[in-house]
Symmetry: C2
Subunit: 428 residues, 2 copies
Amino acid sequence: MKTLIRNAYVLTMDEKGTIFENGCVLVEGEEIVYAGEEKGLSDSRADREIDADRNIVMPGFINAHTHLPMTIFKGYGEGLPLKRWLEEKIWPAEAKLNDEMVYWTSMLGLIEMARTGTTSFLDMYMHYDSVFDAVDKGGYRCMFSRAVLDVDGNEEVRLKEAVEAYEKYHGKGNVEVMMSAHAEYTCSPSILEKITEAAEKYDTGIHIHISESRQEHMDSIGRHGLTPIQFFDKLGVTKRPIAAAHCVHVNEKDMEIIAEKNISVLSCPQSNLKLGSGISPIKHMLDMGINVAVGTDGSSSNNNLDMIEETMLISLLQRGVLNDAEAIGNMQALKLATAGGAKALGWSEKLGSLKSGYFADLIMIDTSGVEFVPRNDLVSGIINSGCGRDVCMTMIGGKIVYESDSVSFADEDEVKRKVQEFADKICS
Amino acid sequence: MKTLIRNAYVLTMDEKGTIFENGCVLVEGEEIVYAGEEKGLSDSRADREIDADRNIVMPGFINAHTHLPMTIFKGYGEGLPLKRWLEEKIWPAEAKLNDEMVYWTSMLGLIEMARTGTTSFLDMYMHYDSVFDAVDKGGYRCMFSRAVLDVDGNEEVRLKEAVEAYEKYHGKGNVEVMMSAHAEYTCSPSILEKITEAAEKYDTGIHIHISESRQEHMDSIGRHGLTPIQFFDKLGVTKRPIAAAHCVHVNEKDMEIIAEKNISVLSCPQSNLKLGSGISPIKHMLDMGINVAVGTDGSSSNNNLDMIEETMLISLLQRGVLNDAEAIGNMQALKLATAGGAKALGWSEKLGSLKSGYFADLIMIDTSGVEFVPRNDLVSGIINSGCGRDVCMTMIGGKIVYESDSVSFADEDEVKRKVQEFADKICS
């Protein structure tokens, strides 16, 4: 099966930021076989031809930190700070979640991702069988991690599940599995050592929440005399590749550790604002050579899965906080949300830009709306004028999962109805 | 002509934040005659009945600071800080704008406003005949101000035009006119005195950019030994009501002056981030009792006119900067973007909330999309999950200007084509 997308403004998001103004992308099976100027394509035969009508074609967004099933908690516990929000609202409601609910709320999240141009993501949650079923049905590319914590003394079950999740699902469909430690404040040194051992055994990275709130950061110093990242480093957790969500309150020494070790920062600017956590020093970390990826966090603290909005914030917040309109440019922000995510997930060799041999994970952005007129700067159009709603086609591994205002993998009305019914039961 | 909107979730945005969950709004002529629970409506006869289908009905947004014709400069000069952006890009391009261009770019801006739920706005620009023609054709409620400055020694023409604009257009259609002083760095004491005199003569407020960037703020201290607001206060400008755009770099004494005098702050969070100006201390000003309204600024530094995005940022930025998830709640943010704007423009007696006797300036928000599922919190749905694209109907003074994906007052394709042609001429 060959698909040719022609007459497109192609943002490759490759190392040089190459743009093909009269571009096309030829897809065969799950891979791109050509991305370039249309005149350079030698053989344009294809089973399906899509006229992009001068719209933008670019890599799909990689949501580098989310909790897909939390879509059901959107708007629940509004206005509370992180700790109270978790303890008073989210954790009690999560205790009522069952596998069926998780399947349907995951499906709702995937629909929103498809509609807003996200083609792959790094997830951390539980009920992994249900998450896998939804992700696999959607054909989504997902790095999954079962959150491990032992603050309640219940370590063995979760660690066992994390390992089971790896053994059952790693490499199945478009899914891979990595280990996860929930956070410093929920994990003992003993469980962290076991998680690290498992990550070594299965050769995976470890997905961790790090220094999201000031309280978490300061409590860690109080407990260990060390910041969370220093604590993980001392325990040897950082000998594995780390996908470090948030890193809002990191200090200079923390950032040096992050820069030295194989650690990617997964920044979730909107969630960090919404929960009153703060603004991560992304620009400074980029200047230090740290790989930064972008995530929405769970829809419950965002409250959507729109990676274009997140990309806008990654750029705007640094400009505002540093009083520097040139702090993070639009192309750089887009790169963090695509290639930065691919690197954080260990997928740089196959994902994050449009080039021959890479997975055909790509999106088309409709530029016909008033927001894109006039076309003084199309990249600014995507980020600053537009939003995820402008995405008009989403393809994962050569398969179209969204086009013509409809997703391929679910009955949207059924999904909405089911999730509303479940929310009425557990969020009240 | 009577229009009844029923079966709605009505956010009145009145002083108490009243919500009617099974609400309706009855409109007669240009005014609301009933807003309340449907069961409380005594006489439901109407010429037109609209079934809101459980969607949200609320007051239209009031964009308290914008430069409508700058829509043509969207994305032009991306990545430059305020001063260079103005001097190298915007001002040279503005010199090439003519009346015809201003008419069409204003029309484009109005289309975007209608589509995203803005029903009235405070504008500052030039070419006021063309702006009026577009605004009047759109049926928009607008407070217009001709920007006056004399930094180039050319004071008389602009002041004359500002007075002419008042005499020609104040009270015509839905348009009112106020005086304007562009900013401290572009106005001499002499012109400021004349502007104040004109405002006294015509009994209008004065619309001014104040302490937008750190440079502007510090330069004023260097020139006068006074911050911009202190300088205006010393000159007696503040004896008139002031619509003070931005106020990002105000100090404690500045805020005391603002709180004491009849001054509203028009906060434009996205533009302030984008140009690297900073984040305004809105929460602190609200705690001091200052009236805060919300604006997009010109589309050229935003880059859209979506007041829902702006409302989200007003809330999120204060939460993030102050490490306080409760700093500004969603209802309070919505209030600033509606009632706050009405107060800033002197229209509180007729605008900013849905109640009997008020202008029927209202919008309907479609809550059928995935972003609004589940409905754990509808107000959070508007601001945090949704965006301006969710607006499905916009009414100004009882007249529907947008519904069924179409505006009533313009041929969108013609407007887009014209503005693109003009942009190709002057933005290069």
